[in-house]
C-alpha cells in the first residue's frame, strides 16, 4: 500500500478472511458441481463406469 494509507492492524483482517471463507462456501453450492461439468464430461466419455458411480450425485445437483 502507499505510505499515506493508514496501516490496518493484522488482527483486523482475520474476520474478513473468515467472511471470505464463508462467502466462498456459499458460492460453492451448487456452483462447485457446475464448475466441474467439463471434468465430468471427460470422465463420462473416457471412463464411463466411474461416471456411473457419480450418477446419484449428478441427479441431486441437476434436480
Amino acid at each position: 500500500m502507499s505510505p499515506d494509507e493508514p496501516a490496518t492492524p493484522a488482527s483486523g483482517v482475520r474476520p474478513w478472511v473468515a467472511v471470505m471463507a464463508l462467502t466462498t462456501l456459499w458460492y460453492a453450492w451448487p456452483q462447485f458441481f457446475y464448475s466441474l461439468f467439463f471434468g465430468y464430461d471427460l470422465l463420462r466419455t473416457f471412463l464411463p463406469q466411474w461416471a456411473e458411480r457419480l450418477q446419484p450425485l449428478v441427479d441431486l445437483v441437476v434436480r
Binding site: M1, W16, V17, Y27, Q31
Partner: protein, 648 residues
Amino acid sequence: MTGISLSLGFLGWLVSLAFTIALSLLAARPFRTGRRSLDLAVFVFLWIFLTTLITFLVGLAGGLKAGTLGLVSLAGVASIAVHPAWRRAVLAAGRDFASWRAVQAWWRSLPLWLRRGSLAFLVIAGVRAAFLIWALPPFIWDSLTYHLTNVAQWVQDGRIGLFLTPIDRIYTPANYEVLASWFAVFLHHDVVVEAAALPAYLLIGLSVYAIGRGLGLSADAGWIGVIAHVSTPAVVYAATGTKNDPFVAAAYLLMVALALDLRRRVAAGGEARPAGHFLLMGLAFLYALGTKSYVLHLAVGLIVLVAAGGDGLSLRERFRRLFARARADWRQGFEEHRWLLSLLWAGGLCLGLYWNLRNWVLTGNPFYPYGVSVADRAILDTGLGGFHFDVQNLLANLQVLAAKFGDKSGRIVPDLPGTTGWGWVAHGMGWPAAVWACVHVRKFRPVAAAFGVSLLTLLLSSPTSPWNMRYVAWFPAVLAVGLGAFMPHALEAGDLVRRVAITLFAFCVAMNTLMVLGYNLIPIREFQRMLALPVSQRHAGMLHVQVPMEYESAYQFVPPQARLGYNVDSNGFVYPLYRADFSQRLVYVPFTPRESCESIAQAMRSRGTRYLFVAPVHTDDLNIARLRECAADGSALRERAIGLYVTR
C-alpha cells in the same frame, strides 16, 4: 486455399503486424507517463486503435484483401525504415517497452507462491485459448447472426459496407468487426478469428494492473488484482468468444486507469500532463463508441471519478487546475507531435462516429436498428426495442441482477443466461475485499463510486434480459482491485491467516479456470468430431452446439462456387452459410407464406440461385411450412436435403 496463397497471406499478415506495432510505438511516444504499466496499456490500446483504423480506411476504399493490406503495410514499414528519426524512435521505444531485464526484475519482485501460481495460470490459460481457437469454429449466437456475418461479407467483397440481409443488427457500430476482419482477411479463413478479442483481454489485464498501481498498490498486490479479474469466467469467455464487449470493457478500464493517474498527478501538484491523458481518454471513448454505444452510459462513472473528492481539493479547484494545465501542456509539451495527435484525433472521430453518422444519414436514426425512449416517451422509435432511460427499467434490472447474484441458476456459459458470469474469485473473495477496501483504503472509494455509478447508469437503460450481464464484464475489476488491496494485509496477519488467504485465492482461481476449459458448454463428443475434421473444414455449421443440423446440408449439397439463397429471420444465423473460408456466395431470398410456389421459385431465379436454405428457429415456421407444401406439390420446388430446397 493453396499452400502458396496461404504462405503469402501469412507473410502479408506478419508485415502488417510489424507495421502496426511500429506505428503504435511511434504514436505512444508523446503519451509516456513514466509509469510502465500505464504506458504498456496505452501502447496495446494504440495498437488496437491503429490496426482497426488502417483496416477500416483500406476496407472503405475497397482494399480489404490480403494483397492490398500487405502492400500498404509494406509501404508503411519501408517509410519508417528509410526515415532515420522514425527508425531511431521506433527502435528506442521498442527497446524500452520490451525490456527483458525490467520484466525479470518485476517477476522476481513477486513472492514465490504468487510466481508459481501465476505461471501455472498463465500456461493453462494460454494453452486453453490456443487450443479452443484452433479446434472450434465460432459458435456464439450474436456472432453467427451479425458480428461475423459482417466480417465474412466484407472479406468476400474486399470492401466494408452494407449489404442486403434481414439481420438489421449489421448496422450497429462495428469497430470490433473491422479488427476481426484483420484477423481473417490474410488467411481468407476464420481459423484464428476467435483470437480477435485477445488484444482487448491483454488490455483489460494491463489496465487493471495500472488501476491497482495508480491506487498505490505494490506490484504483487496489483498482480493479484489482475489474476483475480482475468480469471473471471465472463471475461475469459468473451476473450475468445467473437464478441465486441471485451473492447468496451478494455476501453472503460483504460479510461479509469488514466483518470486515476490524472487525479493522482493533479493532487500531487507536480508534473501533471493532462493533455495527453485527455486525448487518450477521448480516443478510448471514441473507439468504444464505435464498438458499442453503451460506453455512453459507462462514461458517467468516469466523470464521477475525475470529479470525486478525497484528494483535498474542491471540485472547482480540481477542474481549474486540470484545464489550465491541459491548455499549457497542449501548447508546450505536444508541440513537436501536434500533427501526429491531430491525425490520431481525426482517426478517432472516424472510428467513433462513422457508424452512427452513416445510420443517421441512411435511416434518420443514429442508433438504428434500436430506438431510444426516456421514461415512456419514445425519442426514436423503430419498433425493434432499444434503450429505455427509465427508473422502472433500472429497478427491473436490479431485480434481475439480484436473481443472478451468486450464479445459483445453473452453469456459467458464454452467453451468460441467468448468471452474472463473475465466478468464484469475485463472489467468494471480491465482494468482502471490496467492502474492506472501501472502509480502510481512502483512495479506493472514488474508484468504487465510479464503478457503481457506471453500473447504475448502464442498468438504467440496458434491456432487461437473461443475457444482459455480458455488458458488465468490466465490473468485477473493482472487486479484483479491492482484493489486490486486501491480500498484502492478510499475508502479514500470521501464518494461519496467510495460509487460508492463499489457499482460498488459489482455490477460487483454479475453480474459475476449471470451469472455462471447454466453455462449460461444449461436450467432449463435439470436440472429438471437430478434431476429426481438417482445420479448413471446421465450418461454424459443423459444431452442433447452437447451430441446427440443416446447416450441414448446405455444405454437403451446395457447391461452394454456386450462389446460395437463404431465408432466415432478423435473429437467424447467416454466418455459418459462408463456410470457414468465406467461399460461399449468399443471397437473401425474401418471401411470404402466402406466395405461390412458382413465385418463390421465381424470386430465387431472379437472384441468381437455384438453392434456398431454411432452418427451424432461424426461419419463420410458416415459411418453412410453405416450402414443404411446395416440395410436396412438386411443380416448382423440391426438397434436396433437410432445410435445403432447389428449383425444378
